[in-house]
């Protein structure tokens, strides 16, 4: 299965600044997803990033706040813009495992990027 590396693993940021999270996959994948996990909560899908097209955002998430790039089939970035303390969360990158024998829509996740906004 794919191995996902995320950078940074954690960071402390000041209010009003922006931070870009990188997601590197060790193999080419079609679909990449960005999730947010607020403290003590479950995961919420932010957007789906496909190479060569604009990201598809879920309700409550907008491109101006969370711009996403997907320059190739192994890499994506998520930027958290103009951060506030409410953006303090773990941000997770995931990819769909294109292995039909394994199952339907099975995802592999990175370890996440823990952001704290002061």
């Amino acid at each position: 299965s794919a191995v996902i590396s995320q950078k940074p693993s954690r960071d402390i940021c000041q209010r009003g600044t922006s931070l870009t999270i990188q997601c590197q996959v060790d193999s080419q994948v079609t679909m990449m997803f960005w999730y947010r996990q607020q403290p003590g909560q479950s995961l919420t899908l932010i957007a789906t990033a496909n190479q060569g097209s604009e990201a598809t955002y879920e309700s409550g998430f907008v491109i101006d706040k969370f711009p996403i790039s997907r320059p190739n089939l192994t890499f994506s970035t998520l930027t958290v813009s103009n951060m506030s303390p409410e953006d303090s969360s773990i941000y997770l990158c995931s990819v769909r495992r294109d292995e039909p024998a394994l199952g339907a829509n099975v995802l592999t996740f990175g370890a996440g990027s823990r952001l704290t906004v002061l």
Binding site: L45, S94, A104, N105, V106, G112
Partner: protein
């Protein structure tokens, strides 16, 4: 998307079998039942997936009754390292083989605490 309901938390002693039940009353014909495990400071990890009856792998067993409105994840002889959050998901299959887009939504999860 079918919504899932599972207990918020469970405690178990080491060596016991743990069964976590998930309710998904509105599951659709093309939906699969999928379970993930998440340890602190890690992303979720796929455990098992099934459509109906019973599925078993090296980690767990998944029991799904004929009406598919619920499912039970069974962890045999748990150890302290099984302490984690377990998520039950209903995942659409439609469009999978044609490369269609399918959103995967996580529910609240069950926090399992294994006690020595």
């Amino acid at each position: 998307l079918a919504k899932t309901t599972q207990p918020i938390s469970m405690d178990s002693y080491e060596g016991q079998e743990v069964n976590i039940t998930c309710s998904h009353n509105n599951i659709a014909t093309n939906d699969y039942i999928t379970w993930y495990q998440q340890f602190p400071s890690q992303g979720p990890r796929f455990i098992i997936q099934g459509y109906k009856t019973k599925v078993t792998n090296e980690v767990a067993s998944l029991f799904i009754p004929a009406d598919r409105k619920s499912s039970t994840l069974s962890l045999p002889r748990v150890s302290l390292s099984d302490t984690a959050v377990y998520y039950c998901l209903v995942v659409p299959l439609h469009g999978f083989y044609s490369g269609g887009y399918q959103k995967v939504t996580f529910g609240t999860g069950t926090k399992l605490q294994v006690i020595p």
